[in-house]
């Protein structure tokens, strides 16, 4: 009996990335652009989707809802008569805290891809794990709400770097908070220099049209950031 060293030098997430590429090929062949929407719990992902998707015509959008358990978010989207599929991660070790490529792959048969231009995947609310796992998306959007504080880019650099667009939500609350927007943007530019950003309020609708325009442009492949 003896020991042998085997050199590997391989990304630990290679297996996930391989499945993500397979998902991407399936999305490409169906001509569907895919957005991976990520944020902390309560940052307003579902509320923003409700506001944006209500008036997204002519784009045909669908939603894949990722949650540890339950279908509360999917029910909200279904009220808009938008195709929605719920994906629960709650099996095994208390439920996965993110979606990975394989989970998304398992949901593909339930999605009416042929009838969609755009699929928005609402990830599980979490500021760390979703950033590690590609799912075959064209672009990643992260939402940071002003109630979370201006230090978040410094605390969660992985997430703030793993995105092509940062949405700063709940700006209607700015007058009531100590949130220093300039400081937040300074931190954001330190962590992810020049990343496109949008300020909006999903609740009042202020700034939401710019997000719709961004989604339309992505769906039309006019600007493909990723």
């Amino acid at each position: 009996m003896h020991r042998t060293r085997v050199r590997i030098v391989e990304d630990a997430l290679d297996a996930n990335n391989t499945i993500a590429r397979a998902n991407r090929e399936d999305f490409d062949s169906a001509a569907v652009r895919v957005v991976n929407l990520m944020s902390a719990p309560g940052a307003g992902k579902t509320t923003l989707l409700e506001a944006a998707l209500r008036e997204l015509l002519p784009i045909r959008a669908g939603v894949l809802e990722g949650d540890v358990q339950g279908s509360l978010d999917a029910d909200r989207i279904a009220h808009l008569h938008i195709p929605v599929v719920q994906l629960n991660t709650g099996s095994g070790f208390g439920g996965e805290c993110h979606l990975d490529a394989n989970m998304v792959r398992s949901a593909l048969p339930a999605l009416p891809l042929a009838q969609l231009d755009l699929l928005i995947v609402e990830n599980v609310g979490n500021l760390v794990c979703p950033a590690e796992f590609r799912i075959g998306e064209d672009a990643r959007v992260m939402i940071s709400s002003v109630t979370e504080g201006e230090d978040k880019p410094l605390k969660y650099p992985l997430m703030f770097r793993a995105c092509e667009l940062v949405v700063i939500n709940k700006i209607d609350l700015l007058a009531h908070l100590d949130f220093d927007l300039d400081r937040f943007l300074h931190h954001l530019d330190g962590v992810h220099p020049g990343v496109p950003r949008m300020l909006l309020s999903a609740k009042t609708g202020e700034g939401v049209e710019a997000f719709r325009a961004w989604l339309r442009a992505l769906a039309a492949r006019e600007t493909l950031a990723a």
Partner: protein, 119 residues
Amino acid sequence: MHELSIASAILHTATRHAQGRQVSVVSVRVGPLRQVSADSLRFYFEIVARESGCANARLEVTEVALRLRCRDCGEQWESEQPEFRCPRCLPGSVEILTGEELEVDYIEVQEESECIAQG
């Protein structure tokens, strides 16, 4: 919980390369930009490796420093913070030299063959 999924991914990679041999060491390199806690990773690895070919294998975590370089002035520096601003010519266009790693570097496996041990 981040580390649980990553520990599973590391186990998957190590098991695939072990090709049925018992694994005694799994060595990984992790950069600070991956926000992985080495202690937590070792803890979860021990759990997910039970009843696998990596049971009782030691997970060695080498932490790689964040090294940055300014594309504009060529300055290179090591950073404790995830701040991508050149200290010399702010803001500069900064590239990452090291610090984004999350890779399985090597494994050590037990061989029962009679060939002469290597390395």
